[in-house]
Amino acid sequence: MSAHLVTPVLTGVELAAVRADFPLLSRTVRGGRPLVYLDSGATSQKPDVVLDSEQDFYRQRNAAVHRGAHQLAEEATEAFEAARAEVASFVGVGSDELVWTSNATAAINLVAYAIGNATAGRGGAAARRFALQPGDQIVVTESEHHANLVPWQELAARTGATLRWIGVDDDGRLRTDQLASVVTDRTRVLAFTHASNVTGAVTDVAPFVARAREVGALTMLDACQSVPNLPVDLAALGVDFAAFSGHKMLGPTGVGALYGRRELLEALPPVMTGGSMVEVVTMETATYAPPPQRFEAGTQMIAQAIGMGAAARYLAELGMHGVAAHEAELTRALLAAVASVPHVRVVGPLDAADRLATVSFVVDGVHAHDVGQVLDDAGVAVRVGHHCAQPLHRRFGVAATARASASVYTTVEEIDVFREALAGVRGFFGLNEVATA
Protein backbone atom coordinates (compact mmCIF):
# COMPACT_ATOMS: atom_id res chain seq x y z
CA MET A 1 0.00 0.00 0.00
CA SER A 2 1.22 3.46 -0.84
CA ALA A 3 -1.40 5.29 1.20
CA HIS A 4 1.18 6.53 3.69
CA LEU A 5 3.38 7.97 0.95
CA VAL A 6 2.97 11.58 -0.09
CA THR A 7 0.82 11.40 -3.19
CA PRO A 8 1.37 14.24 -5.61
CA VAL A 9 -1.67 16.34 -6.35
CA LEU A 10 -2.27 16.87 -10.08
CA THR A 11 -0.23 19.84 -11.26
CA GLY A 12 -1.92 22.64 -13.18
CA VAL A 13 -0.50 21.28 -16.42
CA GLU A 14 -1.69 17.75 -15.67
CA LEU A 15 -5.13 19.00 -14.71
CA ALA A 16 -5.36 21.04 -17.91
CA ALA A 17 -4.48 17.89 -19.86
CA VAL A 18 -7.17 15.92 -18.01
CA ARG A 19 -9.76 18.61 -18.77
CA ALA A 20 -8.79 18.57 -22.44
CA ASP A 21 -9.85 14.91 -22.48
CA PHE A 22 -13.46 15.91 -21.69
CA PRO A 23 -15.00 17.66 -24.71
CA LEU A 24 -18.15 18.76 -22.88
CA LEU A 25 -16.21 20.78 -20.31
CA SER A 26 -15.33 23.42 -22.88
CA ARG A 27 -18.92 24.34 -23.71
CA THR A 28 -20.75 27.36 -22.41
CA VAL A 29 -24.21 27.62 -20.86
CA ARG A 30 -26.86 30.28 -20.14
CA GLY A 31 -25.79 33.00 -22.51
CA GLY A 32 -22.13 32.20 -22.99
CA ARG A 33 -20.95 31.54 -19.45
CA PRO A 34 -18.22 28.92 -19.08
CA LEU A 35 -19.69 25.74 -17.63
CA VAL A 36 -18.73 24.99 -14.03
CA TYR A 37 -19.92 21.43 -13.65
CA LEU A 38 -20.36 20.58 -9.97
CA ASP A 39 -22.86 17.76 -10.41
CA SER A 40 -20.49 14.83 -10.89
CA GLY A 41 -22.10 13.03 -7.95
CA ALA A 42 -25.20 12.67 -10.12
CA THR A 43 -23.31 11.77 -13.25
CA SER A 44 -19.76 12.45 -14.40
CA GLN A 45 -18.68 13.81 -17.75
CA LYS A 46 -16.96 11.42 -20.17
CA PRO A 47 -13.45 11.54 -21.60
CA ASP A 48 -12.75 10.99 -25.30
CA VAL A 49 -11.35 7.52 -24.66
CA VAL A 50 -14.76 6.42 -23.35
CA LEU A 51 -16.69 8.02 -26.20
CA ASP A 52 -14.25 6.63 -28.75
CA SER A 53 -14.37 3.12 -27.31
CA GLU A 54 -18.15 2.96 -27.81
CA GLN A 55 -17.89 4.42 -31.33
CA ASP A 56 -15.10 2.05 -32.19
CA PHE A 57 -17.12 -0.93 -31.04
CA TYR A 58 -20.11 0.00 -33.20
CA ARG A 59 -17.94 1.00 -36.18
CA GLN A 60 -15.54 -1.93 -36.13
CA ARG A 61 -16.57 -4.83 -33.90
CA ASN A 62 -20.33 -4.83 -33.41
CA ALA A 63 -21.64 -8.38 -32.96
CA ALA A 64 -23.45 -10.45 -30.35
CA VAL A 65 -21.14 -11.73 -27.64
CA HIS A 66 -20.74 -15.31 -26.41
CA ARG A 67 -22.33 -16.76 -29.55
CA GLY A 68 -21.56 -16.98 -33.23
CA ALA A 69 -18.44 -18.45 -34.75
CA HIS A 70 -17.45 -15.53 -36.91
CA GLN A 71 -14.55 -13.17 -36.43
CA LEU A 72 -16.68 -10.20 -35.40
CA ALA A 73 -18.32 -12.27 -32.66
CA GLU A 74 -14.88 -13.26 -31.41
CA GLU A 75 -13.64 -9.68 -31.37
CA ALA A 76 -16.80 -8.39 -29.69
CA THR A 77 -16.63 -11.10 -27.03
CA GLU A 78 -12.97 -10.39 -26.45
CA ALA A 79 -13.57 -6.64 -26.02
CA PHE A 80 -16.56 -7.28 -23.74
CA GLU A 81 -14.62 -9.66 -21.50
CA ALA A 82 -11.50 -7.47 -21.53
CA ALA A 83 -13.67 -4.63 -20.24
CA ARG A 84 -14.96 -6.89 -17.45
CA ALA A 85 -11.37 -7.75 -16.50
CA GLU A 86 -10.45 -4.05 -16.56
CA VAL A 87 -13.31 -3.03 -14.26
CA ALA A 88 -12.79 -6.04 -11.97
CA SER A 89 -9.10 -5.31 -11.59
CA PHE A 90 -9.87 -1.62 -10.97
CA VAL A 91 -11.76 -2.61 -7.81
CA GLY A 92 -9.46 -5.46 -6.82
CA VAL A 93 -11.64 -8.47 -7.64
CA GLY A 94 -11.65 -11.39 -10.05
CA SER A 95 -13.31 -11.18 -13.48
CA ASP A 96 -15.65 -14.03 -12.59
CA GLU A 97 -16.82 -12.05 -9.56
CA LEU A 98 -18.07 -9.10 -11.59
CA VAL A 99 -21.57 -9.14 -13.08
CA TRP A 100 -22.67 -6.51 -15.59
CA THR A 101 -25.93 -4.85 -14.65
CA SER A 102 -27.81 -2.00 -16.26
CA ASN A 103 -26.89 0.29 -13.34
CA ALA A 104 -26.08 0.14 -9.64
CA THR A 105 -29.76 0.06 -8.69
CA ALA A 106 -30.16 -3.09 -10.78
CA ALA A 107 -27.12 -4.61 -9.05
CA ILE A 108 -28.60 -4.11 -5.58
CA ASN A 109 -32.01 -5.33 -6.72
CA LEU A 110 -30.35 -8.38 -8.21
CA VAL A 111 -29.03 -9.41 -4.80
CA ALA A 112 -32.31 -8.61 -3.04
CA TYR A 113 -34.38 -10.57 -5.56
CA ALA A 114 -31.92 -13.48 -5.60
CA ILE A 115 -32.27 -13.73 -1.83
CA GLY A 116 -36.03 -13.62 -2.32
CA ASN A 117 -35.79 -16.45 -4.84
CA ALA A 118 -33.65 -18.47 -2.43
CA THR A 119 -36.30 -17.83 0.24
CA ALA A 120 -38.91 -19.22 -2.17
CA GLY A 121 -36.81 -22.40 -2.41
CA ARG A 122 -35.11 -21.71 -5.72
CA GLY A 123 -31.44 -22.49 -6.22
CA GLY A 124 -31.45 -25.87 -4.46
CA ALA A 125 -29.49 -26.80 -1.37
CA ALA A 126 -26.63 -24.41 -2.17
CA ALA A 127 -28.96 -21.41 -2.02
CA ARG A 128 -30.53 -22.35 1.32
CA ARG A 129 -27.91 -20.27 3.13
CA PHE A 130 -29.56 -17.14 1.69
CA ALA A 131 -33.15 -17.99 2.62
CA LEU A 132 -34.82 -15.62 5.05
CA GLN A 133 -37.25 -16.58 7.81
CA PRO A 134 -39.89 -14.34 9.35
CA GLY A 135 -38.16 -12.59 12.23
CA ASP A 136 -34.81 -12.41 10.45
CA GLN A 137 -33.43 -8.91 10.17
CA ILE A 138 -32.15 -6.78 7.33
CA VAL A 139 -30.08 -3.83 8.51
CA VAL A 140 -29.50 -0.67 6.45
CA THR A 141 -28.48 2.85 7.43
CA GLU A 142 -30.30 6.16 7.60
CA SER A 143 -27.77 7.53 5.11
CA GLU A 144 -28.71 5.28 2.20
CA HIS A 145 -29.63 6.35 -1.30
CA HIS A 146 -33.13 5.04 -2.01
CA ALA A 147 -31.47 2.42 -4.23
CA ASN A 148 -29.93 0.75 -1.16
CA LEU A 149 -33.05 1.13 0.96
CA VAL A 150 -36.22 0.47 -1.03
CA PRO A 151 -35.11 -2.94 -2.42
CA TRP A 152 -34.51 -4.07 1.18
CA GLN A 153 -37.89 -2.72 2.31
CA GLU A 154 -39.44 -4.78 -0.48
CA LEU A 155 -37.43 -7.91 0.40
CA ALA A 156 -38.47 -7.57 4.04
CA ALA A 157 -42.11 -7.22 3.01
CA ARG A 158 -41.91 -10.31 0.78
CA THR A 159 -40.17 -12.53 3.32
CA GLY A 160 -41.45 -11.39 6.70
CA ALA A 161 -38.00 -10.15 7.68
CA THR A 162 -37.70 -7.01 9.79
CA LEU A 163 -35.94 -3.89 8.54
CA ARG A 164 -33.70 -2.07 11.02
CA TRP A 165 -31.21 0.71 10.56
CA ILE A 166 -28.04 2.32 11.81
CA GLY A 167 -28.46 6.04 12.53
CA VAL A 168 -26.49 9.06 11.42
CA ASP A 169 -24.85 11.57 13.78
CA ASP A 170 -25.17 15.35 13.55
CA ASP A 171 -22.12 15.48 11.27
CA GLY A 172 -23.68 13.01 8.87
CA ARG A 173 -21.40 10.14 9.87
CA LEU A 174 -22.80 6.65 10.37
CA ARG A 175 -23.33 5.69 14.01
CA THR A 176 -20.81 2.85 14.04
CA ASP A 177 -21.37 2.65 17.80
CA GLN A 178 -24.88 1.30 17.10
CA LEU A 179 -23.58 -1.74 15.20
CA ALA A 180 -23.38 -3.85 18.36
CA SER A 181 -27.04 -3.25 19.27
CA VAL A 182 -28.75 -2.91 15.87
CA VAL A 183 -26.98 -5.84 14.20
CA THR A 184 -27.96 -9.01 16.06
CA ASP A 185 -27.80 -12.77 15.69
CA ARG A 186 -30.98 -12.51 13.61
CA THR A 187 -29.39 -10.09 11.12
CA ARG A 188 -28.92 -11.74 7.72
CA VAL A 189 -28.08 -8.74 5.53
CA LEU A 190 -26.17 -5.56 6.37
CA ALA A 191 -26.46 -3.05 3.51
CA PHE A 192 -24.59 0.24 3.79
CA THR A 193 -23.00 2.96 1.75
CA HIS A 194 -19.27 3.37 1.25
CA ALA A 195 -19.71 7.11 0.79
CA SER A 196 -22.88 9.16 1.12
CA ASN A 197 -24.08 10.92 -2.01
CA VAL A 198 -25.45 13.68 0.24
CA THR A 199 -23.03 14.23 3.12
CA GLY A 200 -19.91 12.99 1.34
CA ALA A 201 -18.97 11.07 4.51
CA VAL A 202 -16.80 8.05 3.76
CA THR A 203 -17.65 4.97 5.83
CA ASP A 204 -15.06 3.09 7.82
CA VAL A 205 -16.04 -0.28 6.34
CA ALA A 206 -14.00 -2.51 8.70
CA PRO A 207 -16.29 -2.40 11.77
CA PHE A 208 -19.33 -3.09 9.57
CA VAL A 209 -17.71 -6.14 7.99
CA ALA A 210 -16.41 -7.33 11.36
CA ARG A 211 -19.84 -7.08 13.00
CA ALA A 212 -21.55 -8.78 10.04
CA ARG A 213 -19.10 -11.66 10.19
CA GLU A 214 -19.63 -12.00 13.93
CA VAL A 215 -23.32 -12.68 13.38
CA GLY A 216 -23.07 -14.40 10.00
CA ALA A 217 -24.77 -11.63 7.99
CA LEU A 218 -24.08 -10.84 4.35
CA THR A 219 -22.71 -7.37 3.56
CA MET A 220 -23.85 -5.28 0.60
CA LEU A 221 -21.78 -2.16 -0.07
CA ASP A 222 -23.07 0.75 -2.17
CA ALA A 223 -19.80 1.86 -3.75
CA CYS A 224 -21.30 4.27 -6.34
CA GLN A 225 -19.71 7.37 -4.86
CA SER A 226 -16.44 5.83 -3.66
CA VAL A 227 -15.25 3.99 -6.79
CA PRO A 228 -15.02 7.13 -8.97
CA ASN A 229 -13.18 9.17 -6.36
CA LEU A 230 -11.06 6.93 -4.13
CA PRO A 231 -8.81 3.90 -4.50
CA VAL A 232 -11.20 1.03 -3.74
CA ASP A 233 -10.19 -2.60 -3.22
CA LEU A 234 -13.43 -4.48 -2.62
CA ALA A 235 -11.68 -7.77 -1.83
CA ALA A 236 -9.49 -6.06 0.77
CA LEU A 237 -12.55 -4.39 2.28
CA GLY A 238 -13.97 -7.87 2.74
CA VAL A 239 -17.54 -7.11 1.73
CA ASP A 240 -19.70 -9.87 0.26
CA PHE A 241 -21.42 -7.80 -2.42
CA ALA A 242 -20.87 -4.34 -3.83
CA ALA A 243 -22.58 -2.23 -6.47
CA PHE A 244 -21.32 0.68 -8.53
CA SER A 245 -22.29 2.39 -11.74
CA GLY A 246 -20.46 3.23 -14.95
CA HIS A 247 -21.81 6.72 -15.51
CA LYS A 248 -20.55 8.12 -12.22
CA MET A 249 -16.98 6.93 -12.90
CA LEU A 250 -16.53 8.68 -16.27
CA GLY A 251 -18.22 5.81 -18.13
CA PRO A 252 -21.50 5.56 -20.06
CA THR A 253 -25.03 5.30 -18.71
CA GLY A 254 -26.81 1.97 -19.04
CA VAL A 255 -24.11 -0.07 -17.39
CA GLY A 256 -23.16 -0.87 -13.81
CA ALA A 257 -21.53 -3.69 -11.96
CA LEU A 258 -22.27 -6.07 -9.15
CA TYR A 259 -19.36 -7.59 -7.29
CA GLY A 260 -20.07 -10.79 -5.41
CA ARG A 261 -17.61 -13.04 -3.65
CA ARG A 262 -17.03 -16.07 -5.88
CA GLU A 263 -18.51 -18.71 -3.55
CA LEU A 264 -21.59 -16.54 -2.98
CA LEU A 265 -22.27 -15.91 -6.65
CA GLU A 266 -21.87 -19.63 -7.27
CA ALA A 267 -24.58 -20.43 -4.73
CA LEU A 268 -26.94 -17.57 -5.61
CA PRO A 269 -30.01 -18.37 -7.74
CA PRO A 270 -30.62 -16.30 -10.88
CA VAL A 271 -33.07 -13.42 -11.04
CA MET A 272 -33.58 -12.50 -14.67
CA THR A 273 -33.89 -15.65 -16.72
CA GLY A 274 -33.86 -16.38 -20.43
CA GLY A 275 -31.20 -16.53 -23.10
CA SER A 276 -27.44 -16.55 -22.47
CA MET A 277 -27.70 -17.53 -18.78
CA VAL A 278 -28.55 -21.22 -19.22
CA GLU A 279 -26.76 -24.52 -19.85
CA VAL A 280 -29.39 -27.10 -20.83
CA VAL A 281 -33.00 -26.18 -21.53
CA THR A 282 -35.82 -28.66 -22.01
CA MET A 283 -39.53 -27.96 -22.30
CA GLU A 284 -39.87 -28.59 -18.57
CA THR A 285 -36.83 -27.05 -16.98
CA ALA A 286 -33.40 -25.50 -17.36
CA THR A 287 -29.98 -25.58 -15.77
CA TYR A 288 -28.02 -22.42 -15.29
CA ALA A 289 -24.62 -21.18 -16.38
CA PRO A 290 -21.97 -20.44 -13.78
CA PRO A 291 -21.54 -16.84 -12.67
CA PRO A 292 -21.20 -14.20 -13.93
CA GLN A 293 -23.24 -15.31 -17.00
CA ARG A 294 -25.96 -16.76 -14.75
CA PHE A 295 -26.90 -13.18 -13.88
CA GLU A 296 -26.64 -11.75 -17.39
CA ALA A 297 -29.77 -12.87 -19.18
CA GLY A 298 -30.48 -11.50 -22.62
CA THR A 299 -28.33 -9.39 -24.88
CA GLN A 300 -26.02 -7.28 -22.79
CA MET A 301 -25.11 -3.58 -23.02
CA ILE A 302 -21.92 -4.42 -24.87
CA ALA A 303 -20.80 -0.97 -26.02
CA GLN A 304 -21.52 0.53 -22.61
CA ALA A 305 -19.57 -2.23 -20.84
CA ILE A 306 -16.64 -1.55 -23.14
CA GLY A 307 -17.02 2.14 -22.35
CA MET A 308 -16.99 1.40 -18.63
CA GLY A 309 -13.84 -0.65 -19.15
CA ALA A 310 -12.24 2.31 -20.92
CA ALA A 311 -13.23 4.58 -18.03
CA ALA A 312 -11.66 2.21 -15.50
CA ARG A 313 -8.48 2.10 -17.57
CA TYR A 314 -8.42 5.90 -17.85
CA LEU A 315 -8.75 6.32 -14.08
CA ALA A 316 -6.22 3.57 -13.39
CA GLU A 317 -3.71 5.30 -15.67
CA LEU A 318 -4.25 8.60 -13.86
CA GLY A 319 -3.78 6.70 -10.62
CA MET A 320 -6.52 6.69 -8.02
CA HIS A 321 -4.21 7.84 -5.21
CA GLY A 322 -3.47 10.97 -7.25
CA VAL A 323 -7.13 11.41 -8.11
CA ALA A 324 -8.06 11.13 -4.43
CA ALA A 325 -5.34 13.61 -3.44
CA HIS A 326 -6.58 16.11 -6.01
CA GLU A 327 -10.14 15.66 -4.83
CA ALA A 328 -9.07 16.06 -1.19
CA GLU A 329 -7.84 19.51 -2.17
CA LEU A 330 -11.20 20.18 -3.83
CA THR A 331 -12.98 19.01 -0.66
CA ARG A 332 -11.07 21.57 1.39
CA ALA A 333 -11.78 24.26 -1.21
CA LEU A 334 -15.50 23.46 -1.32
CA LEU A 335 -15.83 23.42 2.47
CA ALA A 336 -13.91 26.71 2.71
CA ALA A 337 -16.07 28.26 -0.03
CA VAL A 338 -19.31 27.34 1.69
CA ALA A 339 -17.99 28.40 5.11
CA SER A 340 -17.03 31.82 3.74
CA VAL A 341 -20.62 32.70 2.80
CA PRO A 342 -22.87 33.80 5.70
CA HIS A 343 -26.13 31.92 6.36
CA VAL A 344 -25.03 28.77 4.57
CA ARG A 345 -25.16 25.51 6.53
CA VAL A 346 -23.50 22.27 5.47
CA VAL A 347 -25.39 18.99 5.83
CA GLY A 348 -22.46 16.67 6.43
CA PRO A 349 -19.02 16.69 8.02
CA LEU A 350 -17.16 20.02 8.20
CA ASP A 351 -13.92 18.09 8.54
CA ALA A 352 -12.29 17.28 5.19
CA ALA A 353 -10.88 13.96 6.44
CA ASP A 354 -12.66 10.79 5.26
CA ARG A 355 -14.91 12.89 3.12
CA LEU A 356 -15.58 13.28 -0.59
CA ALA A 357 -15.69 16.57 -2.49
CA THR A 358 -19.48 16.35 -2.28
CA VAL A 359 -20.94 19.15 -0.20
CA SER A 360 -24.67 19.55 0.42
CA PHE A 361 -25.90 22.72 2.00
CA VAL A 362 -28.88 24.91 2.75
CA VAL A 363 -29.03 28.69 2.47
CA ASP A 364 -31.15 30.27 5.23
CA GLY A 365 -34.33 31.71 3.79
CA VAL A 366 -33.81 30.45 0.24
CA HIS A 367 -35.15 27.14 -1.05
CA ALA A 368 -32.60 24.81 -2.65
CA HIS A 369 -34.33 25.07 -6.04
CA ASP A 370 -33.93 28.82 -5.98
CA VAL A 371 -30.30 28.50 -4.88
CA GLY A 372 -29.66 26.16 -7.80
CA GLN A 373 -31.34 28.54 -10.23
CA VAL A 374 -29.12 31.47 -9.22
CA LEU A 375 -26.00 29.29 -9.45
CA ASP A 376 -27.13 27.99 -12.84
CA ASP A 377 -27.44 31.56 -14.09
CA ALA A 378 -23.72 31.94 -13.31
CA GLY A 379 -22.97 28.76 -15.27
CA VAL A 380 -22.61 26.64 -12.14
CA ALA A 381 -24.38 23.27 -12.32
CA VAL A 382 -25.34 21.79 -8.95
CA ARG A 383 -27.97 19.28 -7.90
CA VAL A 384 -30.97 20.40 -5.88
CA GLY A 385 -33.56 18.31 -4.08
CA HIS A 386 -33.32 15.31 -1.78
CA HIS A 387 -30.77 13.47 -3.95
CA CYS A 388 -32.74 10.22 -3.61
CA ALA A 389 -32.16 10.24 0.14
CA GLN A 390 -35.40 11.45 1.73
CA PRO A 391 -34.87 9.79 5.13
CA LEU A 392 -31.45 11.41 5.48
CA HIS A 393 -32.90 14.83 4.66
CA ARG A 394 -35.69 14.22 7.17
CA ARG A 395 -33.03 13.35 9.75
CA PHE A 396 -31.60 16.83 9.27
CA GLY A 397 -35.01 18.51 9.21
CA VAL A 398 -34.80 19.76 5.64
CA ALA A 399 -36.84 18.82 2.56
CA ALA A 400 -34.12 19.67 0.09
CA THR A 401 -30.50 20.71 -0.15
CA ALA A 402 -28.26 22.03 -2.89
CA ARG A 403 -25.25 19.85 -3.58
CA ALA A 404 -21.92 20.70 -5.18
CA SER A 405 -19.95 17.61 -6.15
CA ALA A 406 -16.57 17.54 -7.84
CA SER A 407 -14.65 15.03 -9.89
CA VAL A 408 -11.11 14.52 -11.11
CA TYR A 409 -11.53 17.26 -13.75
CA THR A 410 -12.78 19.93 -11.32
CA THR A 411 -10.50 22.89 -10.59
CA VAL A 412 -10.10 25.12 -7.55
CA GLU A 413 -10.80 28.08 -9.86
CA GLU A 414 -14.21 26.60 -10.64
CA ILE A 415 -14.94 26.41 -6.94
CA ASP A 416 -14.11 30.15 -6.74
CA VAL A 417 -16.78 30.82 -9.39
CA PHE A 418 -19.20 28.72 -7.36
CA ARG A 419 -18.32 30.64 -4.19
CA GLU A 420 -18.93 34.01 -5.82
CA ALA A 421 -22.30 32.93 -7.22
CA LEU A 422 -23.29 31.46 -3.85
CA ALA A 423 -22.38 34.72 -2.12
CA GLY A 424 -24.97 36.50 -4.28
CA VAL A 425 -27.90 34.17 -3.61
CA ARG A 426 -29.46 35.80 -0.55
CA GLY A 427 -29.05 39.27 -1.97
CA PHE A 428 -30.89 38.23 -5.12
CA PHE A 429 -33.90 37.28 -3.01
CA GLY A 430 -33.75 40.55 -1.08
CA LEU A 431 -32.48 39.08 2.15
CA ASN A 432 -30.44 41.53 4.14
CA GLU A 433 -27.22 39.98 5.41
CA VAL A 434 -27.03 42.17 8.52
CA ALA A 435 -30.64 42.23 9.64
CA THR A 436 -31.25 38.50 9.46
CA ALA A 437 -28.07 37.34 11.22
Binding site: H367, A368, H369, D370, D377, H386, A399, A400
Partner: protein, 169 residues
Protein backbone atom coordinates in the same frame (compact mmCIF):
# COMPACT_ATOMS: atom_id res chain seq x y z
CA UNK B 1 -28.03 38.17 -14.87
CA UNK B 2 -29.60 36.71 -17.99
CA UNK B 3 -32.90 38.08 -19.31
CA UNK B 4 -34.50 34.69 -18.83
CA UNK B 5 -33.53 34.80 -15.16
CA UNK B 6 -35.08 38.25 -14.72
CA UNK B 7 -38.28 37.01 -16.38
CA UNK B 8 -38.30 33.96 -14.13
CA UNK B 9 -38.04 35.85 -10.88
CA UNK B 10 -40.25 38.86 -11.53
CA UNK B 11 -40.78 41.16 -8.57
CA UNK B 12 -44.42 40.10 -8.23
CA UNK B 13 -43.24 36.50 -7.77
CA UNK B 14 -40.61 37.44 -5.21
CA UNK B 15 -43.19 39.52 -3.32
CA UNK B 16 -45.77 36.73 -3.24
CA UNK B 17 -43.10 34.24 -2.16
CA UNK B 18 -42.09 36.47 0.71
CA UNK B 19 -45.64 37.33 1.86
CA UNK B 20 -47.90 34.57 0.51
CA UNK B 21 -51.69 35.00 0.55
CA UNK B 22 -54.01 32.35 1.92
CA UNK B 23 -51.37 30.55 3.93
CA UNK B 24 -52.63 28.73 7.02
CA UNK B 25 -55.39 26.16 6.72
CA UNK B 26 -58.67 27.68 7.80
CA UNK B 27 -60.45 26.31 10.84
CA UNK B 28 -63.62 28.32 10.24
CA UNK B 29 -66.93 26.54 10.69
CA UNK B 30 -68.37 25.25 7.44
CA UNK B 31 -71.51 27.05 6.36
CA UNK B 32 -74.60 24.84 5.87
CA UNK B 33 -74.62 23.23 2.44
CA UNK B 34 -71.04 24.17 1.59
CA UNK B 35 -68.72 21.50 0.26
CA UNK B 36 -65.17 21.16 1.55
CA UNK B 37 -62.39 19.57 -0.46
CA UNK B 38 -58.78 19.08 0.53
CA UNK B 39 -55.77 17.86 -1.44
CA UNK B 40 -52.18 17.09 -0.57
CA UNK B 41 -49.71 17.27 -3.44
CA UNK B 42 -45.98 16.54 -3.47
CA UNK B 43 -43.31 17.27 -6.03
CA UNK B 44 -41.32 14.04 -5.78
CA UNK B 45 -38.17 15.51 -7.31
CA UNK B 46 -37.64 18.11 -4.59
CA UNK B 47 -39.99 17.13 -1.77
CA UNK B 48 -42.02 20.34 -2.02
CA UNK B 49 -45.54 19.88 -0.75
CA UNK B 50 -48.83 21.64 -0.27
CA UNK B 51 -52.10 20.87 1.48
CA UNK B 52 -54.85 23.01 0.01
CA UNK B 53 -58.47 23.31 1.13
CA UNK B 54 -61.41 24.80 -0.72
CA UNK B 55 -64.80 25.86 0.60
CA UNK B 56 -67.44 25.76 -2.12
CA UNK B 57 -70.82 27.47 -1.89
CA UNK B 58 -73.39 25.56 -3.97
CA UNK B 59 -75.14 28.90 -4.65
CA UNK B 60 -78.27 27.49 -6.27
CA UNK B 61 -76.52 25.45 -8.95
CA UNK B 62 -73.81 27.97 -9.80
CA UNK B 63 -71.13 26.78 -7.38
CA UNK B 64 -68.68 29.42 -6.21
CA UNK B 65 -65.30 28.91 -4.60
CA UNK B 66 -65.64 30.95 -1.41
CA UNK B 67 -62.24 30.42 0.22
CA UNK B 68 -58.89 28.83 -0.46
CA UNK B 69 -56.49 28.10 2.37
CA UNK B 70 -53.28 26.15 2.32
CA UNK B 71 -50.16 25.05 4.11
CA UNK B 72 -47.00 24.07 2.36
CA UNK B 73 -43.32 24.49 1.89
CA UNK B 74 -41.26 24.82 -1.23
CA UNK B 75 -39.34 27.09 -3.52
CA UNK B 76 -40.27 30.67 -4.32
CA UNK B 77 -41.94 29.68 -7.59
CA UNK B 78 -44.23 27.11 -5.98
CA UNK B 79 -45.10 29.31 -3.00
CA UNK B 80 -45.74 32.40 -5.11
CA UNK B 81 -47.85 30.40 -7.53
CA UNK B 82 -50.12 29.13 -4.73
CA UNK B 83 -50.40 32.66 -3.36
CA UNK B 84 -51.35 34.10 -6.75
CA UNK B 85 -53.90 31.39 -7.44
CA UNK B 86 -55.49 32.06 -4.05
CA UNK B 87 -56.14 35.67 -5.08
CA UNK B 88 -57.27 34.66 -8.54
CA UNK B 89 -59.84 31.97 -7.73
CA UNK B 90 -61.30 33.19 -4.43
CA UNK B 91 -64.91 34.16 -5.12
CA UNK B 92 -64.87 32.74 -8.63
CA UNK B 93 -67.52 30.42 -10.05
CA UNK B 94 -66.22 26.87 -10.47
CA UNK B 95 -66.53 27.09 -14.25
CA UNK B 96 -64.23 30.10 -14.12
CA UNK B 97 -61.81 28.31 -11.72
CA UNK B 98 -61.59 25.47 -14.19
CA UNK B 99 -60.99 27.85 -17.09
CA UNK B 100 -58.24 29.67 -15.18
CA UNK B 101 -56.53 26.42 -14.25
CA UNK B 102 -56.57 25.32 -17.87
CA UNK B 103 -55.29 28.70 -19.07
CA UNK B 104 -52.46 28.61 -16.54
CA UNK B 105 -51.54 25.10 -17.66
CA UNK B 106 -51.35 26.38 -21.24
CA UNK B 107 -49.14 29.25 -20.12
CA UNK B 108 -46.75 26.77 -18.54
CA UNK B 109 -46.47 24.91 -21.82
CA UNK B 110 -46.00 28.02 -23.97
CA UNK B 111 -42.19 27.95 -23.64
CA UNK B 112 -42.16 31.55 -22.45
CA UNK B 113 -44.05 32.95 -25.44
CA UNK B 114 -47.15 33.82 -23.39
CA UNK B 115 -50.79 33.53 -24.52
CA UNK B 116 -53.47 35.63 -26.26
CA UNK B 117 -54.03 39.04 -24.62
CA UNK B 118 -57.53 37.94 -23.53
CA UNK B 119 -56.23 34.88 -21.80
CA UNK B 120 -53.43 36.85 -20.15
CA UNK B 121 -55.90 39.45 -18.89
CA UNK B 122 -57.87 36.69 -17.19
CA UNK B 123 -54.73 35.41 -15.47
CA UNK B 124 -53.79 38.78 -13.99
CA UNK B 125 -50.73 38.46 -11.73
CA UNK B 126 -50.34 34.85 -12.81
CA UNK B 127 -48.92 36.05 -16.14
CA UNK B 128 -45.78 36.85 -14.13
CA UNK B 129 -45.08 33.12 -14.39
CA UNK B 130 -44.66 33.32 -18.18
CA UNK B 131 -40.87 33.10 -17.81
CA UNK B 132 -41.11 29.89 -15.78
CA UNK B 133 -42.06 28.05 -18.96
CA UNK B 134 -38.53 28.64 -20.26
CA UNK B 135 -37.17 26.47 -17.45
CA UNK B 136 -38.72 23.01 -17.87
CA UNK B 137 -37.50 21.87 -14.45
CA UNK B 138 -39.49 24.64 -12.77
CA UNK B 139 -42.86 24.14 -14.49
CA UNK B 140 -43.83 21.52 -11.92
CA UNK B 141 -43.07 24.03 -9.16
CA UNK B 142 -45.54 26.51 -10.65
CA UNK B 143 -48.19 23.85 -11.22
CA UNK B 144 -48.03 22.23 -7.77
CA UNK B 145 -50.70 24.50 -6.24
CA UNK B 146 -52.92 24.33 -9.30
CA UNK B 147 -52.80 20.53 -9.17
CA UNK B 148 -53.86 20.70 -5.53
CA UNK B 149 -56.65 23.15 -6.38
CA UNK B 150 -58.14 20.96 -9.08
CA UNK B 151 -57.87 17.88 -6.91
CA UNK B 152 -59.42 19.65 -3.91
CA UNK B 153 -62.35 20.85 -6.03
CA UNK B 154 -62.84 17.33 -7.37
CA UNK B 155 -62.73 15.86 -3.88
CA UNK B 156 -65.26 18.37 -2.57
CA UNK B 157 -67.87 16.63 -4.67
CA UNK B 158 -69.13 20.02 -5.83
CA UNK B 159 -66.98 20.03 -8.92
CA UNK B 160 -67.91 20.00 -12.53
CA UNK B 161 -68.30 16.81 -14.54
CA UNK B 162 -65.05 14.84 -14.78
CA UNK B 163 -64.71 15.58 -18.51
CA UNK B 164 -63.49 19.10 -17.76
CA UNK B 165 -60.71 18.08 -15.43
CA UNK B 166 -57.22 17.89 -16.86
CA UNK B 167 -54.61 15.41 -15.83
CA UNK B 168 -52.52 16.55 -12.90
CA UNK B 169 -49.00 17.63 -13.76
Amino acid sequence: MTNAMEQLYQQVILDHAKFPHGRGLTTDAVAPGHAIGESHQVNPTCGDEVTLRVDIDPADGVPVLRTVSWEGQGCSISQASISVLTDLVTGAELTEVDRLAETFRQLMHARGAGLDPDQEDALGDATAFTGVAKYPARIKCALLGWAALRDAVARSGAGLPATTSQELP
